[in-house]
Amino acid sequence: MDTPMNWIANVVRPKIRSLLKRDTPENLWIKCPETGQMVFHKDVENNLFVIPGSNHHMRMRAPARLASFFDGGAFEDVPLPEVPLDPLKFRDEQRYVDRLKNSRAKTGQPDAVKVGVGTVEGLTITAAVQDFDFMGGSLGMAAGEAVVKGFETALERKTPFVLFAASGGARMQEGILSLMQMPRTTVARRRLYDAKLPYIVVLTNPTTGGVTASYAMLGDVHIAEPGALIGFAGPRVIEQTIREKLPDGFQRAEYLKDHGMVDMVVHRHDLKPTIARLCRLLTKAPARNAVPAQAPSPAPAAAVQPAA
């Protein structure tokens, strides 16, 4: 996208970065993709990776997401099943096993999905996070097993399950075995459904392809982060198919809400209280600020107002 800041980004920034590289971590400065404004990385990090000022929601890595979601940043890291490596023996310019190795080194994660259990405003919740930085959050066998494990963990512990989706879709290098994660995760989702435990999906930027066409669109409640790209086919594919320009805001969170596909678009700062409130309501847990035992449930009753 062309912004007035582009000439600075292209000309000045690389020089500054190469000068600073020696003794400072990379990403010292971040450019807001929406406004082009340069912001200090620490400020963004301290703001849950939302750019102060523009409110643009940056991608969030899985460990940071879990830490920000659970009370005091503390959670139990759920061990995930190992899966066969490179069943297709896939290679193009690079062997798939090497791509995996690189992604593991880059992210410090074994694959794209991380699962944790902890408390959110005092309520125990199981959460899974898809990490877009790991091969585009793609849904391979490892990610599929991790999502299944997330559902199973919620089922065993009798907790709600919250899934933060972010994915380009299938892991192409695992071919049909990637596609099979769609019915596999759906089997697991069904079990949580039968157990009457809440399943809340948070759609983050971007969530497309087989992930949307399976567990990410089967939530009891769908929450989207502002501006998130959410869809089945990617915009490039659609444009190539219909050879037309796509409408403004197409496949963005707000557009999906307008078309009835998500329940709410929620700023990242408000996610935690919103999810906690929903989980409490759906599991009939007492309201967070309710006076315990001695005053039996006046708070929820008072909240019910006849429709105006």
Binding site: M180, T212, L218
Partner: protein, 317 residues
């Protein structure tokens, strides 16, 4: 008129010679030419079976998309009596990319659903080349719900390059429609059998292919995304479809080895398009045999077996 694929050229040449000799024979000289014809015919049929015994994944892709390959409605006409299609999702529209309804297989009432690509230009447009929109999948769910309630097994014929990627389809929730259809298939208390008769493309296929038994025709393909889409995603170049097909293990033989499908239905020599009737009969037998395995099972058993089967995929590679 017969149409040949590029790689069938040697066969095409031999068969053309046979035709030439036949034409000559009709003008006279029949005795001398008769032997030649027989020799050439034998040679052509040998060449054909050799060729089809060792098709590459890309060649199979071409066979799976052959314009004369039997499509869903051909199977329906050949196998299903009393076929009564239903229409509409009761929400938005009728989508003819997916055809579905009720009929009898071997005399027994069944629910039949399938993607239809169309066999003439007009039909291809009407059926949107077998690429369904959300209303197609929602119609499938509606029909499966009827099947479940009335206790009729579901047979689905899979033949699509994928779900339709368009503005309207996205607006109306293509992803959600596919996810619901997959979920509904998994929850059926009646047994279901899916057979990939041509192309099983991506989520658009999965939506109706999540079954107790999944079968594939010998030269059908089943992919995470069509070879063109795969190449576009992997290398931003849909022109490398052949590379994608070669790399991605999309043939029935590979998928059986991975435990993704449960059986392969043999095709006539030279592919289903050379003898559609034989292919249709073979498919019918395989479907009936698969359904027979679930006779007498309770709805819970049917559901549990299906769930366990899918959960096991990939766990013992």
């Amino acid at each position: 008129m017969k149409s040949y694929l590029d790689f069938e050229k040697p066969v095409a040449e031999l068969e053309a010679k046979v035709e030439e000799l036949r034409a000559l024979g009709e003008k006279g000289d029949a005795v001398a030419i008769g032997d030649d014809i027989q020799r050439l015919e034998a040679k052509a049929s040998h060449a054909l079976s050799e060729l089809y015994a060792a098709l590459t994944p890309w060649q199979k892709t071409q066979v799976a998309r052959h314009p004369q390959r039997p499509h869903f409605l051909d199977y329906c006409a050949g196998l299903i009596t009393d076929f009564t299609p239903l229409a509409g999702d009761r929400l938005f529209a009728e989508d003819e990319a997916i055809v579905g309804g009720f009929g009898r297989l071997d005399g027994e009432p069944v629910c039949v659903i399938g993607q239809e690509k169309g066999s003439t230009t007009e039909a291809r447009i009407r059926h949107n080349f077998g690429m369904a929109k959300p209303e197609g999948y929602r119609k499938a769910v509606r029909i499966m719900e009827l099947a479940d309630r009335f206790g009729l097994p579901v047979v689905s014929f899979v033949d699509t390059a994928g779900a339709y990627p368009g503005i309207g389809a996205e607006e109306r929730g293509q992803a959600e429609a596919i996810a619901r259809s997959t979920e509904f298939s998994l929850g059926l208390g009646v047994p279901n059998v899916a057979i990939v008769i041509g192309e099983g493309g991506s989520g658009g296929a999965i939506a109706i292919a999540t079954a107790n038994r999944v079968l594939m025709l010998e030269h059908a393909i089943y992919t995470v995304a069509s070879p063109e889409a795969s190449a576009s995603i992997l290398w931003r170049d849909s022109g490398r479809a052949q590379d994608a097909a070669t790399n991605m293990k999309i043939t029935a033989q590979d998928l059986l080895r991975f435990g993704v499908i449960d059986g392969i239905v043999g095709e006539p020599v030279g592919g289903a398009h050379r003898d559609p009737q034989a292919a249709i009969i073979a498919a019918g037998k395989a479907i009936s045999a698969a359904l027979a395995d679930f006779r007498g099972k309770s709805p819970d058993q049917v559901r549990d077996l299906r769930a366990a089967k899918f959960l096991a995929i990939g766990r013992s590679l």
